[in-house]
């Protein structure tokens, strides 16, 4: 691995100061490191300094009434094992369990996954379906960014120079589901993944697709086609098939366009069915 200096600031201010004094590309931020170490070793990322977030007080999971806030450096395994998350955000738990392996999730974090914004992120589709908000801190203070504005493109986010992801907020518990298809269940990347959620407060569906380059997407047209909490089977199938026909889908080494269109229709139909048949009383 090319050499670099590792620093682990003991406070948020000290961490921000490390970023402020660095030229672009000179510094990399280390959360769990499960993606960064791979990139460093491959020479894809060649910083002179690596700023570790391990001493920052961000390994948190808080419920404030119905609002869930997850600290950016909480290991994904802790998110996955929280009983209340499983009950109130089932799709978030399913997506978390889709990441890597148990060993990897002991270190990997939500903030790291989001900062990297990989096209095949298992977490971003469900964050889109849950209307998550990203809490950023930087040289000019803190700001909240809705997840769909945070994602700018493939591997690109709205994170400004010198900013860090502090937490992610989930405003409302929603019946939700996350389904994927891939070659190997663990340590693999989804060929297609689908997140579905129903928002009780707005009586609207949220649908998102991932695993298809260049980036995860919300599916507003399909959302509009599902008009109620319990859409008819024909509506669900119609929305799924319309999406599979109209989505821009490329062939790459992971899957052909044809196979991906088949997966989009099948997984979307199943995910919506699963959410639609969730017992209404279940939180």
């Amino acid at each position: 691995m090319p050499p670099f200096a590792l620093v682990a600031p003991a406070s948020v201010d000290a961490a921000l100061a490390e970023l402020r004094t660095a030229a672009p590309g000179e510094v990399a931020v280390l959360a769990g490191g499960t993606d960064l170490l791979f990139a460093l070793d491959a020479g894809k990322n060649t910083p002179r300094r690596v700023v570790s977030l391990r001493r920052l007080p961000w390994r948190t999971l808080d419920w404030n009434g119905a609002v869930l806030t997850v600290g950016s450096t909480l290991p994904l395994r802790a998110l996955e094992q929280d009983a209340e998350v499983a009950q109130r955000h089932p799709g978030l738990r399913e997506a978390t369990r889709a990441v890597g392996s148990v060993q990897l999730r002991h270190r990997a974090t939500l903030g790291g996954n989001l900062g990297r914004a990989a096209p095949a992120s298992d977490l971003i589709p469900v964050l889109l379906a849950l209307d998550a908000e990203v809490d950023l801190v930087g040289p000019t203070g803190a700001r909240w960014v809705p997840i769909d504005q945070f994602l700018v493109g493939s591997n690109r986010t709205a994170l400004g120079a010198g900013e860090l992801i502090r937490s992610v907020r989930f405003p409302e518990p929603r019946p939700s589901a996350y389904l994927w298809q891939r070659v190997r269940p663990a340590n693999d990347i989804s060929q297609v993944a689908v997140a579905a959620a129903y928002s009780p407060s707005t009586d609207r569906w949220r649908l998102a697709v991932g695993g298809i380059p260049p980036r995860a997407l919300r599916l507003p047209e399909a959302e509009e086609m599902l008009r109620s909490r319990a859409p008819a089977d024909s509506q669900i199938r119609g929305a799924a098939e319309w999406t599979a026909r109209h989505l821009v889908i490329a062939t790459d080494r992971r899957a052909s366009e044809e196979y991906r269109r088949h997966l989009v229709a099948t997984l979307l139909e199943r995910a919506v069915q699963r959410v639609a048949t969730t017992r209404p009383g279940a939180r």
């Binding site: 691995m1 050499p3 200096a5 590792l6 499960t34 170490l37 791979f38 890597g100 392996s101 990897l104």
Partner: protein, 157 residues
Amino acid sequence: MPAPLPLTVNGRSRPLEGVPDSERLLDTLRWRFGLKGTKEGCRSGDCGACTVLVDGVSTLSCLTLTHEVEGSALTTIEGMGEDPDGRVVQDAFERAGALQCGYCTPGFVVALVGLLKERGRAASIDDLLGDLGGNLCRCTGYLSIARALSLLPKEPP
């Protein structure tokens, strides 16, 4: 001269000096401590062969910088004989003959010990097998590993 990096390895305090910031835990264990039981497989987090326990929690040592686990207690396959969970897992692997070439075995044993510490002995075989999905056996000797799981005692000793 920076202060030594505090580490506990298999129950013994073993502070280290002169570890480069970019060194991985896998390399520290194998080359500075000579603990060659921890295997390098893919070096990219895909195979689980390098699994060790960091404060009792299973961790991929190939994707972990040594300085990031400063002050932690590390347990490798060499320390499993001193660990009650380690002993029952090793005993089950032995009785089931759950190894072929043996290269993946330390990773499987340590990962399984980590799961028992996390979930307790009551976890079902299916759940344990699912949670071992990050460990690859290139001999494809999974049936004998599943047999070893079925030999685990359900109660703590």
